[in-house]
Subunit: 354 residues, 2 copies
């Protein structure tokens, strides 16, 4: 490192002008073959590499993707975005792209960050996470012509197929339906659902998966389904309290499906304390915690999500950063998650029959 | 975004040459005040901002810190480096620095990445994590004159005070000693230690903290201490098996101090299954899992670690990226962790007296 050969060193070694070296690098077709070979040989011999900033200035490309790093939530579910970041960085690296992190306290601060990074040509494209209904960021990016992909679908009705809004999301309803059907098939009849308060795009989507599976089961009218539903914010202790309150009020379940591993862990602790240590419980996110305590869970397949994000940005094999001509069907990917069944630490199959 | 004013637009508006605008930006002291004011006024009016790549090329500064993102470990302890990354990114942002991620399969691949990023002036300085005895990366960086700080001390004996190797680390021995002394003060006599196989720089350091606290307790000879020690690799199930094996072989403890939360969770599950659900157990790392299951743990204070890293790189208030003149005592920070005491999910104080 330290001192590197400069373009002047190459020019001197090849006995050409600085401009000729520059032409060989940028418009080789304009340089006579015999001269080009001499310059290329000098480049190789000296180990000259064009300065990245100069190259970026020339090409207006930084080969860099920007992504916001959310404040540390100190929670269990927060690890999902960290896992996604790992998958994205690893796969971006394989495609010659880097990942630049930034922070922002709210969507408006994030828009200011995006503007700064994009204006400076520091970042070619952005990956937005934690989308929500009425999210101002996507409209802003579309208006500014800034390439981006969201991990998370647009939660408005009209823009799901907008070819200007590229997105990758996980089909939460499908994952929760699979978990519920698995429990029903193993003999559970009253499968409860522990989810977040409505409205929540992600949470309501997951609850719909449970509802659609339960609608197939015999005797499941609206009142019965309502009696099987528990609501809590995404915290272990809130979930624990909510399950204990519902149990004290007489609610009974053969099994529980939960909108997150945090909720599932709270349910697990509540169940154990009322003599239901063997109640089958399934979480969502397949976090390290679920693995550690032997909790079945729905895995979001974040490697697939990251691959989808990069494919939408760069094409399947190419280096293109959007915009390209995309049909509505090509502008998003909906990943089907998979159920991971584990035996719990009580020694019984937690996702098994009661 | 889209079209931005160029340096030519500013020159035209201020009725000066392109070179004069450039002088105002780079060497304003050389420009006559009346001209400078006219150019500055045009810059403000047009909202011109110098292109970041051009600025970087000029200053050879990228305002960017590079850090390797380790492959996803899917474990509990892996969240420590993610937490550190969050703290580093937030504080770097407050100092006008960005964080660029890269991946590397091994130390040699990392050195190649570092060379590429540093040669391209993409990154001003590097933060290295997961240092180990005989780590080739630090020697390489010192030889190349590349600014860096390691999170993790040099594990060799001679280089702890090398002013060329800046480092921040957490005093693991002190944290484990505090945890052990806490348990002894609450009435436990036979405090066991569950740690990783030796040699392990970090693991041996933590075990020394337990040893030094136990050495103060009455009747603790080498044989007793050996009988109180359990070893397992950093996995919940390995820890669970190791504790069960030791218990079956007749080992008895009043409490357990563990080198990580993964080990502590395994110990917790093992203890519960042999009727010792109330055995006080303390982990290390204060991960989300420890918080979720109510396990006492030693917190590394990663916000302090990140602040120390940035202070070593940039000075307490300045923008300097090392090298500066540093005395041996100024070239590192050893952060004292703190014990977080929690009540467990069994309803008893897990860190309390037996």
């Amino acid at each position: 490192m330290g001192n590197h050969p400069t373009i002047e060193d190459v020019a001197r070694a090849a006995r050409v002008s600085r401009q000729t070296v520059s032409n060989v690098l940028n418009t080789p077709e304009r340089v006579r073959p015999v001269t080009r070979e001499r310059v290329e040989s000098a480049i190789t011999k000296l180990g000259y590499r064009p300065h990245a900033s100069a190259r970026r200035l020339r090409t207006q490309k930084s080969s860099t993707i920007g992504i916001r790093l959310d404040p540390m939530s100190n929670g269990i579910s927060g690890s999902v975005l960290d896992s996604f970041l790992h998958a994205l960085t690893e796969q971006a690296d394989q495609r010659g792209m880097r990942v630049l992190l930034y922070t922002a306290a709210d969507p408006h601060a994030e828009m200011a960050q995006i503007r700064k990074l994009h204006d400076g040509a520091d970042v070619d494209a952005f990956v937005l996470t934690s989308t929500f209904h009425g999210d101002p960021r996507t409209e802003y990016l579309i208006a500014g012509g800034v390439p981006f992909v969201t991990f998370g679908r647009p939660w408005g009705v009209d823009d799901m197929n907008d070819p200007q809004h590229l997105w990758v999301d996980v089909d939460g309803a499908s994952g929760v339906r699979e978990a519920t059907e698995h429990l029903l098939a193993r003999g559970a009849a009253r499968v409860g659902f522990l989810g977040w308060p409505s409205p929540s795009g992600t949470g309501d989507d997951r609850r719909r998966g449970w509802q659609s599976a339960m609608a197939q089961a015999p005797g499941m009218d609206a009142a019965t389904l309502a009696a099987l539903t528990i609501t809590a914010s995404d915290s272990v202790t809130e979930a624990q309290s909510a399950v204990l309150r519902a149990h004290a009020a007489g609610a009974r379940w053969d099994a529980l499906v939960c909108a997150s591993d945090s909720l599932a862990l709270g349910a697990r602790m509540a169940a154990a304390s009322v003599g239901l240590a063997e109640l089958p419980i399934v979480g969502f996110d397949n976090t390290p915690v679920a693995e550690a305590v032997g909790l079945s869970s729905v895995d979001q397949r974040l490697t697939e999500v990251a691959a989808g994000v990069l494919e939408l940005l760069m094409g399947v094999s190419g280096k293109a950063i959007v915009p390209r001509e995309l049909t509505p069907g090509e502008s998003h990917r909906l990943i089907t998650p998979r159920l991971v069944v584990r035996r719990g630490d009580t020694g019984v199959d937690l996702a098994g029959a009661p």
